[in-house]
Symmetry: C2
Subunit: 277 residues, 2 copies
């Protein structure tokens, strides 16, 4: 099977590495020649081009561009594809993508491989990045079963944990466990920078607890802003729920209600492992 | 030099392992005989007892009990010590401890070795836990220089990064980078549990970002509540600053002010590394 990937960054490049290793003929498209050259040299793709013509004959096409470019990319690439070609994307928000693409191109399956690192670009591509990671597919009632089957088969080959969800459910769940944490974590970093007299001491004393809690808040700013933009309602809903929970904790501390604070922390200790299996 | 440790948990046990390895004669006191037996068997101490009499002749005594027991422990142990014995503690809050202990026992140096794991108890004691970790000493104007020198020497032997601060500065800095993050992180866990329809999907999709952001909120609840209790003012101050920063982020998202949100996330990305050196 010939597979195409448009967008050869961390995600597109890593997909290419594993799919090439599995024996598929993988071809890539990037906006930059340097990226194409690197992608070929690390064997993420067997050939890469600035031009969509290289995609002739692909059975499955991954759109791995930044989320803001997905729709325009699909519109532009359709004339180069056979109508049998299945398109899937890798964006971390699904509802607006699925709503926009499905009427344009029925043979589309929304997807979200949930893996990444703090790095970006083809230089950061990693083998087995998606191994054991969740990979969500968000077909709709109109998605052809054959298209779902083919993408499912690829997800299994990548060794990912496959889940199905509606685009709406996906976006709400991801707002909770991924998008809102970026904002929660970034706000912590800025709070720790807010007191210039304490800054140096706080910097010296920050240890593994701060490192972990602040990690996602120190990630790619454009990606964080895109998550908020494309998943705005769900992110706002999650952050407002979060504000209520935090206000509850603060109120326990203000009232010196240590039994209730302890109970809250016991609940969070108890509940966390169910998210880590 | 003979060194005593009262409280043979994760911190006391780990101190014992390294100090014994360095050739000091280390003796321990615990409230439970089982703990004493384990501490001797893993060579955290050469001898351990339920009784303070074992501390006769120690030059330096670590109080590594839970924070709520420090003051009562010091009052009870003083009759067993020579007035030359230097006492230091390991509590993560310093101002209330230093204020209470200094009038009782002048030869006291407040200390805070900033290392730990999610585990607790002597079974979790680790060699080199404090190596490269910050270790803060909070002497006051009345602290004898000789006492400061001796504790400083031990901190250097542990391979920790030594910092000096006033008890107040320490507590404010630690509220920002350690205590407030526990509450911020716990509130995230409880938010993700708040929607029963999405719970299973959220649990399945939670990945490394959630794992890191939630880690300290899933830790020891009693310890978290003690931090809030003993460092109440500084923790409340930090959390209220945090609420303002989070409200700012939410307002950018509500107003669809993507340039300002991106700028906020660029700032947090830029500032984070200065806390991780």
């Amino acid at each position: 099977m010939k597979i195409g990937i448009i967008g050869l960054g961390l995600i597109g490049g890593s997909l290419g590495l594993d799919l090439s290793e599995q024996g598929f003929q993988v071809v890539g498209v990037s906006r930059r020649q340097t990226t194409c050259d690197i992608a070929v040299s690390i064997k993420a793709v067997s050939a890469a081009s600035l031009d969509f013509e290289i995609l002739a004959g692909v059975e499955l096409l991954f759109i791995a561009t930044p989320i803001g470019a997905i729709s325009a990319t699909i519109k532009a690439v359709i004339p180069y594809l056979s109508p049998d070609t299945i398109i899937t994307d890798v964006a971390s928000v699904k509802q607006p993508i699925v709503e926009e693409i499905t009427p344009l191109y029925p043979n589309f399956v929304g997807g979200h491989p949930m893996a990444g690192t703090a790095d970006q670009g083809i230089e950061s591509a990693l083998r087995h990045l998606f191994h054991h990671a969740p990979y969500v597919l968000t077909p709709t009632e109109s998605t052809p079963l054959e298209a779902i089957e083919k993408v499912k088969q690829i997800v299994n080959i990548l060794g990912s944990k496959l889940y199905f969800a509606t685009p709406e459910q996906h976006d709400q769940a991801v707002a909770l466990i991924s998008h809102a944490p970026v904002m929660i974590s970034a706000a912590l970093i800025e709070t720790c920078c807010g007191n210039s007299e304490l800054l140096e001491l706080a910097q010296n004393l920050a240890s593994s607890g701060f490192r972990d809690t602040s990690r996602v808040g120190g990630g790619n700013p454009e990606l964080g802003a895109m998550m908020a933009k494309y998943n705005r309602n769900a992110v706002l809903f999650a952050l407002k729920q979060y504000q209520q929970n935090l206000a509850q904790v603060i109120s326990y501390i203000e009232q010196e209600n240590w039994p209730s604070l302890t109970q809250f922390l016991e609940d969070s200790q108890l509940h966390r492992p169910s998210f880590l299996s």
